[in-house]
Every structure is written in structure tokens, then in C-alpha cells.
Symmetry: C2
Subunit: 234 residues, 2 copies
DNA sequence: CCATTCACCGAACGACCGTTCGGCTCATAC
DNA sequence: GTATGAGCCGAACGGTCGTTCGGTGAATGG
């Protein structure tokens, strides 16, 4: 058995390789805020939001505990900023890259490559977005939810076009199909650590292949399947 | 847009419908422990392990705070028991159901149906197992990891047989393929709530279809793909 | 030169946390 | 009848948490 990949998949999380950029006190307000956010992402990604104390974030960001409250109204605010910025970037980035791409399968490739690529370079951010999805509430939650829904819908419409074009008779529930793709992408933080033998770009292609053609591609397997409205069989 | 499924996928978690079984003080030690564990699973699933206080667990289980320590040495012990029992049950259940099933695809169907079926009836348990995977450490972590690895390997060997039989020339990285299946299963707790229009059994079939045949099934799409050892393209 | 604002900090507050301790009740054993 | 132990609890302990308050020193504007 390949023990290293099992180590990665079932050991503790792949390490996030903190770039050890000490937060310098120079720079504009926005630059300083970004640096603090970067440090906060690493702490929250590795400890979890609830276990990540403001004191730990302050230490990682080279700021005093009280100094944090110059940039954030409270702890939730940090999580909100991380999630809002990440999801917004993901959405805008997807829309930009989609410009001029018309073929549905090609659009899907763009989506997967974009997402995996961003994941590979911002693992902490995407881990926080995947793992701490439900900790916000009220307005903050609603606002982020809006961006997530738009990201879903953009992806869903691509998937719709792919299926309409290449498998119009498909009996698959397209919401389930879409969530399956997001599952593969959102679960990455649990097992994937970029390495030279498994590059982000190669991984994106593999995910695309699996999602489009499944594990056995064009082979002709009869998968007896109930339509989504039929009752359960057992 | 189908707003209810978006509500489920992007709203707060599907509610876990606490069966409101008050922990009765009668029964054997094991029965009482099981009831407390059941209550703890619901609390931990809805609040998260770190936010689930021993006081909240005690209240949900109708036991005093100090009384909890008659059954558990500490808080981690509760999490350990939940995870160990769930993963062990999942593994044993899979092995039992596999008896007498020889066809690889049929074995895979058994695996997916078994997992989804258990998920549908024990959402809290599987949510705790999916979401709080990395909170244990030391011996407890190692012990649970062992069970998880066995569950992975059982699934991996099924997938190997499926690919060897139906797509022997496949270029896919089989670890990635296996983790993709687990991604779909482990991410379920984020969006799936069993309902009559999307039964557990129907969902299992859909996941199986997507995993085996992909979104477009046998349609002939060229998915340009780098082998897993080739360098990244961009 | 002085007033104001910004950026930041040390120290503290009250709330809540996991855990422990001493003691209570009640069924069983002798 | 009394000793024993299991099962359970109220109360408290020390610690950590998020947050706030009152301040300092440097930069800025008039």
C-alpha cells in the first residue's frame, strides 16, 4: 500500500507550510489588515475557529490582543472577512476566466482548474471556508450565503449545459450532480497536499475526468438506477 | 431556481430532528451509556465539538455535569467513543454485506448503499465523524485512524477491481478516484436532508451513477488529461 | 505650538470552560 | 443490621476566553 498518501489522507491535516512572513508594521492600513488576516487564516485553519483564540491570532500577527480590535469589531468579524473575501474572489475569478469560453466542457474545465488552482495557493483560506461554513449567523451569514449561491449557480448552469449537450437523456438529478462536484472540491483540504507527483493542474484534470466520465469512463456498465422521484427500493 | 434545495445546501445545516428521547435512568449501564452518547452526538453535531460544553451534553442527556464523568474520563473520551463506534460499525457492516457478492460493480453498489443508508439513519454520528475528524490526538487518534484506513482499503480494493475489469487502460490515479468517492459521501452532511423526493436509496444510486459513469455517462468526450506524473501545464 | 486623531497597548472584567471533590442515596452482600 | 459499592449530584476550583477601558506616543492639521 502506498503509505504516504494514506498518511496524508488519514493522518493529521496536510501541513499548511506557514510562509513565516512576520507581520511588519509598515504599510498602509489595508496592507496591515491583509497581513493580519493572512496570519489569522493560518491559525484558524490549523486550530479551528473555536479553538483559535484572539490571543493566538494576535501573537501570530505580531499585534497585541487589544490591537486586534482596531481592525475587527469582534472575532466573528475576522471569520466574516476571510470567508467573504475568499468566496468573492473565487466567484469573480471564475467569471473573468469564463470570458470568451463557450464550449460547455471547456467552461467546466475552467471552473475546476480555477478552483483547484486557488485552493493550491491558498489552502488556509479555502480550508477555513470549507470547514467553518456554518459558524456565522445573522447578516454576516446571509451576505456570504449570497456569494456562495452565486458561485453555485454559475457552476450549476455550466453543468446544465454540459449535460444538455452531451447527455440530454440523462436521468441524473442535477442538483446532486452539482453537489457531487463541490464535494470533491470542498473535501480536498482533508487529504490533498500539492506535490510534484500530484500537481494541482494534474489533480484538476483527474477530478474533471472523474466528474465527466466517471471512474470507468465510456465503458458500458448498466447502473440500475431509480429516478429521483421513485420510491426507495430497500 | 429550486429554492428549497438551495436553502438546504447553502442555509444552515439540515436540522437533525432530535428524536426527543429523554434519557431514562432505567436500563443497564450500557443502555444508559448509549443514550448519553446519543444525546452527545446530537449536541456535538449541531454545536461543533469545541462549542459543545459538557454542561450542554449533560443537560441534553438528563444527567448532572458531574454525573457525566461516571461514563467518560473526559470530554475527548466522548468524541473517541462516538467516532470509534461509528467507524467500526461502518466497517463491519460493509464486510457483512459484502459476503457472497463477487461482481466488482455490485460490491461498489453495496458499499455506497451501506454508507448512504447508515448516514440517513445516523446523521449526527456521521456528521461528527466527518466534521471533527482531526480533533483527537495520541493513542485515540491512532486507534481510530486504523479503522478508517481499513475502511479506505476495503473501498479502494473494490474500486481497483472495478477499474481493472471495466477500464483496465484507465489513466486515473486510483487514490484520487477513491478520495473522490469518499468526498461525495463525507460531504453529504453539508447539504443532504432525506426527503421523499430524494430518498437515501435514490441518492445512493445517483452517487453510484456519477461515480461510475460521470456526469455524461458513456458519451464520448475527450478529456485531455495529463498523466499523474506529467508536469503541470499552467 | 497646540489640538486632534490614529495606531496601538497593558491590564483587567466577567463569563464560561473542563474537571474534581466530598457527600448523598439506595440496592445488594454478609 | 450493617458494610459496601455503584450511581449520581451540588458546589467549587483554576484556567482561558472574548471584550473593554484608560492610556501612551507619534503623526497630522491648523
Amino acid at each position: 500500500m502506498e503509505s504516504r498518501e494514506l498518511e496524508q489522507a488519514f493522518g493529521k491535516y496536510p501541513s499548511v507550510t506557514l510562509p513565516s512572513v512576520p507581520v511588519e508594521s509598515r504599510g498602509s492600513y489595508d496592507e496591515r489588515l491583509n497581513r493580519i488576516l493572512e496570519a489569522a487564516m493560518v491559525v484558524i485553519a490549523s486550530e479551528g475557529y473555536s479553538n483559535a483564540s484572539m490571543r493566538a491570532v494576535a501573537k501570530a500577527a505580531n499585534v497585541s490582543l487589544a490591537g486586534l480590535y482596531h481592525y475587527f469589531t469582534n472575532k466573528e468579524h475576522i471569520l466574516f472577512l476571510i470567508q467573504f473575501r475568499t468566496f468573492t474572489f473565487l466567484l469573480n475569478s471564475l467569471r473573468e476566466r469564463l470570458h470568451g469560453v463557450d464550449e460547455p466542457v471547456e467552461q467546466l474545465r475552467v471552473m475546476v482548474k480555477s478552483h483547484v488552482g486557488y485552493f493550491a495557493t491558498h489552502m488556509s483560506a479555502l480550508k477555513v471556508c470549507s470547514h467553518e461554513l456554518d459558524l456565522l449567523s445573522g447578516e454576516a451569514f446571509t451576505e456570504i450565503r449570497q456569494v456562495r449561491v452565486e458561485y453555485y449557480q454559475a457552476t450549476r448552469s455550466i453543468i446544465d449545459r454540459v449535460i444538455d449537450k452531451h447527455a440530454p437523456e440523462s436521468h441524473l438529478d442535477r442538483h446532486v450532480v452539482t453537489m457531487s462536484l463541490f464535494s470533491m472540491l470542498n473535501w480536498l483540504y482533508r487529504w490533498y497536499a500539492p506535490g510534484q507527483e500530484r500537481s494541482p493542474s494534474g489533480l484538476a484534470n483527474q477530478i474533471l475526468s472523474i466528474f465527466l466520465g466517471g471512474a470507468i469512463g465510456a465503458a458500458n456498465i448498466e447502473v440500475e438506477s431509480e429516478g429521483k422521484t421513485q420510491p426507495a427500493r430497500d
